[in-house]
């Protein structure tokens, strides 16, 4: 009995959380995951009975904002579920162990739970020169490849691990790559965002725990429950968009009235996330509600599709802040000049054709131009 892993429920009860709060958490998660009401029972049962999930959590090229997002989750169970209650045997930021002990910790997880543990990754992996990110004398790529070999699944937290984020932005000096580009043969769940919403992270973990399989993913590997709709489609300012009411500067009347931020460069129409529904900081607000356009942080390459405050992105290779419209207009002018030149030459040619045409019988002078 000594070695039996306590279940998640036993853990949170031990921390003084009431059964009522526990059930509230389960119901919230079921709603986030889009389950029917019977799903709540499944979650309750799983969290009550199943042993904790063995997890190895790596930090590669990143800023730790994914972990920060999690720590800041105000609902205690949400934070607990990843930080305390899953068997987080190796987490570079939070674990007490260091050096040899830390290395031992994650090796023991791999040895004890082959095929069962989950690898969670924050950060991108440098490929151009692996030396840019080394831990304990080994490169990020070597560590990841070894850990993934016997893993059940891989969770890529945030934009870095899912799409490379700022490190992979042009010119990408380290050759940073997201997790799914460097490993193969294992399911990778891309939990997008910079950082992802804490409740979304918890939702993914609860899903893994409850159903023992990865959630339904979209074509880009993101859980459909959270990333199937655009920020734009769930935006409470959407009515202003359809009405054609736009903010044109941050201090104009439209901004005060809460008009649509489309013209301020809002990337909501091209960004898939649940900010508009789950919101941030325990559902208090999200960027658009606070009057700021969405920057599209859960989309691949959002750094290279800037500026943030401009609707149409700049085009790389044409200098900073050159949009397709400026280039198009330039080409339009060039075309007009070409047409004008061509028309002049055409008229000279036509004139010659007329004057050189043989004049049958008639001797009249002054040829009429057609």
């Amino acid at each position: 009995m000594e070695n039996k892993q306590p279940s998640f429920y036993e853990e949170v009860r031990g921390d003084g959380i009431s059964r009522k709060d526990f059930l509230k958490f389960c119901a919230t998660m079921a709603a986030f995951l889009g389950l029917e009401s019977s799903g709540i029972g499944q979650i309750v049962k799983a969290l009550e009975t199943k042993p904790r999930l063995p997890v190895i959590w790596f930090h590669f090229q990143e800023c730790t904002c994914c972990s920060e997002s999690f720590i800041r989750a105000s609902h205690p169970i949400v934070a607990n579920i990843v930080l305390d209650k899953i068997s987080l045997d190796y987490q570079e930021t939070l674990m007490a162990a260091s050096g040899f002990q830390a290395e031992e910790a994650y090796k023991s997880v791999m040895a004890k739970h082959p095929g069962e543990y989950i690898v969670m990754v924050e950060g991108s992996i440098p490929i151009e020169n692996e030396a840019y990110c080394c831990i304990g004398g080994r490169s990020a790529l070597q560590i990841l490849e070894e850990a993934v070999k016997n893993a059940k699944a891989v969770v890529a937290w945030g934009n870095c691990a899912s799409a490379g984020c700022v490190q992979a932005a042009s010119p990408n000096p380290t050759g940073a790559q997201p997790v799914h580009k460097v490993i193969s043969g294992k399911p990778v769940i891309n939990v997008q965002g910079c950082p992802p919403i804490a409740d979304v992270m918890a939702g993914v973990v609860v899903h893994l725990l409850t159903f023992d399989r990865i959630p339904q993913l979209d074509e880009l590997g993101r859980p459909k429950a959270f990333y199937s709709r655009r920020v734009h489609d769930t935006c409470y300012r959407r009515a202003n968009f359809d009405a054609g009411l736009f903010v044109e500067s941050f201090d104009d009347e439209g901004a005060k009235r809460g008009y649509c931020l489309y013209k301020m460069g809002c990337k909501g129409p091209v960004t898939y996330n649940s900010c508009g529904i789950i919101k941030w900081n325990d559902g208090i607000s999200y960027p658009i509600q606070s009057g700021h356009p969405c920057i599209g942080c859960s989309e691949a390459g959002f750094w290279d599709n800037g500026p943030f405050y401009q609707h149409l992105p700049s085009i790389a290779g044409f200098g900073i802040e050159t949009t397709a419209d400026k280039i198009g207009l330039g080409l339009g002018v060039a075309t007009a000049v070409g047409i004008a030149g061509h028309a002049i030459v055409t008229n000279i040619r036509k004139h010659r054709e007329i004057t050189n045409a043989p004049e049958p019988s008639s001797e009249s002078e002054t040829p009429k131009v057609l």
Binding site: D218, E219, L220, R229, R230, D233, A239, N240, F241, D242, A243, G244, L245, F246, V247, E248, E253, G254, R257, Y262, K263, K267, P269, V270, T271, Y272, G296, E299, A300, G301, F302, N305, H311, L312, P313, I315, A324, D325, I327, G328, L331, G332, T335, A336, I339, H342, A343, V345, T346, R349, K350, I354, A357, E359, P360, S362, S364, P367, K368
Partner: protein, 239 residues
Amino acid sequence: MRIRSIPMREVHVWEFPVRLYHWINALCITTLCITGFLIGNPLAFMKGTEAYLNYWFGTVRFIHFVSAFTFFFNFIFRIYWGFVGNEFSRWYNFIPLKRCQWKEIMDVIKVDVLQVTNKQIDSIGHNSLASLIYFITFLIFLLQCLTGFGMYSAMSNAFLPKLFAWIVPFLGGDMHVRQIHHILMWGFILFAFVHVYLVFYHDYIERRGVTSSMIGGWKFIEEDVIERHENKSEDCPKT
């Protein structure tokens, strides 16, 4: 008074379906470009009103989508007509696979683009260079449909747009798809300018009535050209 007497005959070049396609296409492209521009950079002409009282931008987008569907099916119809229509509308005119087509492309560049030589171009329908340009515009049509329906698929459960949903992850997200869609729109605009100019140019120089041919379908063609056209060897498409 200058009078020319050139033996000419009228040739029925553009069948009614081709002409119908052309004008529906022209209308759609004009509508799509105007509404597309507005969608990319909407006019914020309304202030101090409430959202529930207005819907003009939604209407602009609705017009864009309806025109897009019309454009798409019109395009599909034209591809079909490329297999069943008359010799001037057939698909093989548009893809220069034959040596004589390339020869004519070089001729057209010399005669009509650079205007360094003065020689008659025999084509009764499109000349080979024009056909090649139309083939490129067909490819742009296709890309525009792919990117457009790809973006549209996120807000639709209909069968047709869902067929294009794969294009978004393929291109790495909506941001890239939207950018490509916007750049290609400029291809349409530049094409339209040059196209209209060249119609005027050819009518002006060749005097075969090319402008009205897209209304009535008939062109005036010199008899010797028709004769050469009918004697052309089989290995070269009769254009």
